[in-house]
C-alpha cells in the first residue's frame, strides 16, 4: 500500500494572530506553527492502513516555506517513511496553483491512496484535495469520518457525516480522500519516533507555481465586540429581553 499524505504548516489555532504591516499577510513573529489538525487525521489514517497491510510506504508531501520541514518531521515522527517539501516563501492564495504543484509531484508516484485533511485551519478553503483529484483524474471523497478498504487494494467505502445522517460512498483505488474529525484519534509522536525522524529522507525542491487567478488584497481583523447589556433581573426582565431580541437583535 503506497500512500501519500499532503499536509500544511498552519498557525496554532490558539495563537492570537496579528496582521503584518503589508496589510495582507500574518505577522509570524512569536506565532507557533503546527501540523494542520485535519491533516493529522490523514497522517494517522495512512499509518494505520500501512500497519494493517503489513507493508507499504507513507510519503508526506507539503508545499510551504523552509520551516515546513519541521512540520513534515512531525509526521515522520508519528511514523511516516519519508517527506517531500515543495518549497516556496509564499503559498499562493489561489488553491488551484497549490493543487497543480502537488498534482505534478504526485502524478508518477504510483500511489494507491492520496490523503488530505478536509481543509486547512488557516484559510478554510476546502479546495486543494478535490482539485488535485480532478487534475489527476482520480475519484475523490471529501470529509470522510470512516474508511473501509477492500483486501484486494481495488477499492473501498467511506462514510461522510452529513446533516442528520451518514452518507456511504464507494470508490475504486487509486483515490483521493480528505479527512474529517472523527476519522481516528491521532497518535502522539513517540520520543523514539522524534529521534528517528531526523534520519528519515526529506527531499526539498523548489515549488513551481503559476501566478494564479486570485490575489489576496487585504486582511482585516474582526470588529471588536461591543459590551453586552443587562436588561434586568429575574422573571420581570423576561418581557423586555424578548422585546429586544425580537426588535433590536432580530433573532426571534
Amino acid at each position: 500500500m503506497k500512500i501519500a499524505v499532503c499536509i500544511k504548516r498552519v498557525p496554532d489555532s490558539e495563537t492570537r494572530v496579528k496582521i503584518a504591516s503589508d496589510g495582507r499577510s500574518l505577522d509570524e513573529a512569536g506565532v507557533k506553527f503546527i501540523l494542520n489538525p485535519y491533516d493529522e487525521f490523514a497522517v494517522e489514517e495512512a499509518l494505520r492502513r500501512k500497519e494493517k497491510a503489513g507493508a507499504g510506504e507513507v510519503v508526506i508531501v507539503s508545499l510551504g516555506p523552509a520551516a515546513a520541514q519541521e512540520t513534515i518531521r512531525t509526521a515522520l515522527a508519528m511514523g511516516a517513511d519519508r517527506g517531500v517539501l515543495l518549497q516556496t516563501d509564499r503559498i499562493p492564495a489561489d488553491g488551484l496553483e497549490v493543487a497543480k504543484a502537488l498534482a505534478a509531484e504526485l502524478k508518477d508516484g504510483g500511489y494507491d491512496l492520496i490523503l488530505f485533511g478536509k481543509m486547512a485551519i488557516d484559510d478554510y478553503n476546502h479546495q486543494v484535495g478535490p482539485m488535485v483529484a480532478e487534475l489527476l483524474d482520480l475519484p475523490c471523497v471529501t470529509a470522510i469520518a470512516h474508511l473501509d478498504l477492500t483486501g484486494d487494494k481495488k477499492g473501498g467505502t467511506a462514510e461522510r457525516e452529513i446533516e442528520g445522517g451518514v452518507e456511504v460512498v464507494e470508490f475504486p483505488l487509486p483515490a483521493v480522500l480528505t479527512a474529517d474529525k472523527g476519522l481516528n484519534e491521532p497518535r502522539y509522536p513517540a520520543l523514539k519516533g522524534i529521534m528517528a525522524a531526523k534520519k528519515k529522507p526529506l527531499d526539498v525542491k523548489p515549488a513551481s507555481l503559476g501566478a494564479g487567478g486570485l490575489e489576496l488584497v487585504a486582511m482585516v481583523p474582526p470588529p471588536e465586540r461591543k459590551g453586552g447589556k443587562i436588561v434586568g433581573e429575574g422573571p420581570a426582565a423576561v418581557p423586555e429581553l424578548i422585546r429586544l431580541l425580537r426588535e433590536e437583535a432580530k433573532v426571534l
Partner: protein, 394 residues
C-alpha cells in the same frame, strides 16, 4: 480543552533544538490530554493514576536518556529535563514516578549492572512491564544514608538481605526494588552495594504510607526485608560505597530541578489567568499593584530557573556537570517553585484552596520535593562545602 502554552519570557525556546522542542511539545500535549483532566480527583482520593503508565511507556518517557540499545529513547539530557518539566507541570507525583523509574532504577542498572542485568531489566522497564523502586532511605537514616543499618550477608548461593526502608516511591507498585545494603560492618559505608530484589521474594513486604497531605497522587511505601534471599546475580557488580546511590540521586535531582520549573510554570499560568479575569473593586485583580508585584516576582524567578536548568543540561550533555551544580539547581528551583505555588495560592484567594485549581496541590507536593532527594538544607551544606572546602555535615 485549553492548551498550555508555556512560559517563555526570554525566548528560551530559541536555545532548544527542533527535537528538544518536539519532545517537550509531545509530552506537554499528552499531559494536557491525560494528566490535567484527572489529576485533581486522583489527588483527592490519594491514588496514583496507574492507568497512565502504559501510555507513558508507549511515549518512551522511562529512562528516556538511556541508550536505544536497551529499548530507551536515547535522548540528550536537555530533552530528558524537558520531559520532567512537563510531567511535573501535571503533578509532582507523576514526575516522581518517572524519575524513580528512570533516574533511580534504570540508571543504576545501566551504570552499575552487568550486561546480562541490563539486557534482562532495562527493556522491560522502558516498556513499563516492570516497575521499579529505589530503597536507600531508612526510618532512622534520611539525610545520613551512610549510617544505614540494612545488611546483605553473602552465603554460598547468594545474599541474604535484612532491614527496612522508608519513604519509597512506587514501593507497593514495583515488581523490582533496587536495595542498598551494607555488605560489611555497620560502620563501613564503603561496603554499601546495590541489589536488584524482586518484590515477590520471600520475606519482602511493602506497606503504603497512610495520611500523606502531599504527593497524594503517588504511592509511597515502607519496605521491610526479613532475611530476603537473592541469588548472586542480584548484586549490581559495579556498585561500591555510598558514592553509588549518591550518583543515582544526582540523576534524579537533575530531573527534579527541571520538574520544579514545570510546577512553577503551571502555577504562574493559573495565577495570570485568574488575575486577569477575577474582578474585585470593579476591576480585574491583576490591575492592582500588589498582585502585579506577585506576578513579576514569579516570572522573574521562573525565567532564572529555566536558564539555570538549560545550562546545567548542556553541561551534563558535555559530561561537565558536577553534583554541586546539580545541588544548586535542585535547591534553587524547588525553593522558588514552592514560593510561586504559595503566592499563586494566595492570589487566588479562597478559590486557591480548592482542588479544582492547581496551586495548592502543587504547593503541598513541592513541600515533599523540597525535602526529598537531599533536603534544601542538605544542598545548602553541599554548596557550603564546595565554597569553603569545610564540611559542616557533622
Amino acid at each position: 480543552m485549553s492548551r498550555f502554552h508555556g512560559v517563555d519570557f526570554y525566548d528560551v525556546d530559541s536555545l532548544l533544538s527542533e527535537e528538544e522542542r518536539a519532545v517537550r511539545d509531545t509530552v506537554r500535549e499528552w499531559v494536557d490530554d491525560n494528566v490535567t483532566p484527572v489529576i485533581g480527583e486522583h489527588y483527592l482520593e490519594g491514588k496514583f493514576p496507574k492507568h497512565l503508565v502504559p501510555q507513558m511507556a508507549e511515549l518512551g518517557l522511562f529512562g528516556a536518556n538511556l541508550p536505544e540499545a536497551y529499548g530507551c529513547a536515547g535522548l540528550n539530557n536537555v530533552a530528558y529535563g524537558l520531559i520532567m518539566q512537563e510531567l511535573e507541570r501535571g503533578d509532582s507525583g507523576v514526575r516522581s514516578f518517572a524519575s524513580v523509574q528512570g533516574g533511580l532504577v534504570m540508571y543504576p542498572i545501566h551504570a552499575f549492572g552487568s550486561e546480562d542485568q541490563k539486557q534482562q531489566w532495562l527493556p522491560r522497564m522502558a516498556s513499563g512491564q516492570v516497575i521499579g523502586c529505589f530503597g536507600l532511605t531508612e526510618p532512622d537514616y534520611g539525610s545520613n544514608p551512610g549510617a544505614m543499618t540494612t545488611t546483605a550477608r553473602e552465603t554460598r548461593d547468594g545474599w541474604v538481605l535484612r532491614g527496612a526502608k522508608m519513604w519509597i516511591t512506587n514501593g507497593s507498585t514495583a515488581q523490582a526494588a533496587i536495595i542498598w545494603a551494607k555488605t560489611g560492618d555497620l560502620g563501613d559505608a564503603d561496603s554499601i552495594r546495590g541489589f536488584i530484589v524482586p518484590t515477590d521474594a520471600k520475606g519482602f513486604s511493602a506497606k503504603d504510607q497512610k495520611g500523606k497531605l502531599s504527593l497524594r497522587a503517588s504511592d509511597t511505601s515502607e519496605l521491610v526485608l526479613e532475611d530476603v534471599c537473592v541469588p548472586k546475580e542480584a548484586l549490581l557488580p559495579k556498585s561500591g560505597g555510598l558514592k553509588s546511590p549518591l550518583m543515582c540521586l544526582t540523576q534524579a535531582r537533575y530531573g527534579i530541578a527541571w520538574g520544579a520549573v514545570g510546577a512553577a510554570m503551571a502555577c504562574y499560568d493559573e495565577a495570570v489567568s485568574y488575575a486577569k479575569t477575577r474582578v474585585m473593586f470593579d476591576k480585574p485583580i491583576g490591575g492592582f499593584q500588589l498582585q502585579q508585584a506577585r506576578l513579576a516576582d514569579m516570572l522573574t524567578e521562573i525565567t532564572k530557573a529555566q536558564l539555570l536548568c538549560l545550562q546545567l543540561g548542556r553541561l551534563k550533555d558535555q559530561g561537565k556537570a558536577t553534583p554541586q551544580q546539580v545541588s544548586l539547581a535542585k535547591r534553587n528551583n524547588v525553593s522558588i517553585a514552592t514560593d510561586v505555588a504559595r503566592e499563586t495560592r494566595r492570589l487566588l484567594g479562597a478559590n486557591g484552596i480548592l482542588a479544582e485549581y492547581q496551586a495548592m496541590r502543587h504547593l503541598a507536593n513541592l513541600e515533599s520535593v523540597y525535602t526529598y532527594e537531599g533536603t534544601h538544607d542538605i544542598h545548602t551544606l553541599i554548596l557550603g562545602q564546595e565554597i569553603t572546602g569545610l564540611n559542616a555535615f557533622n
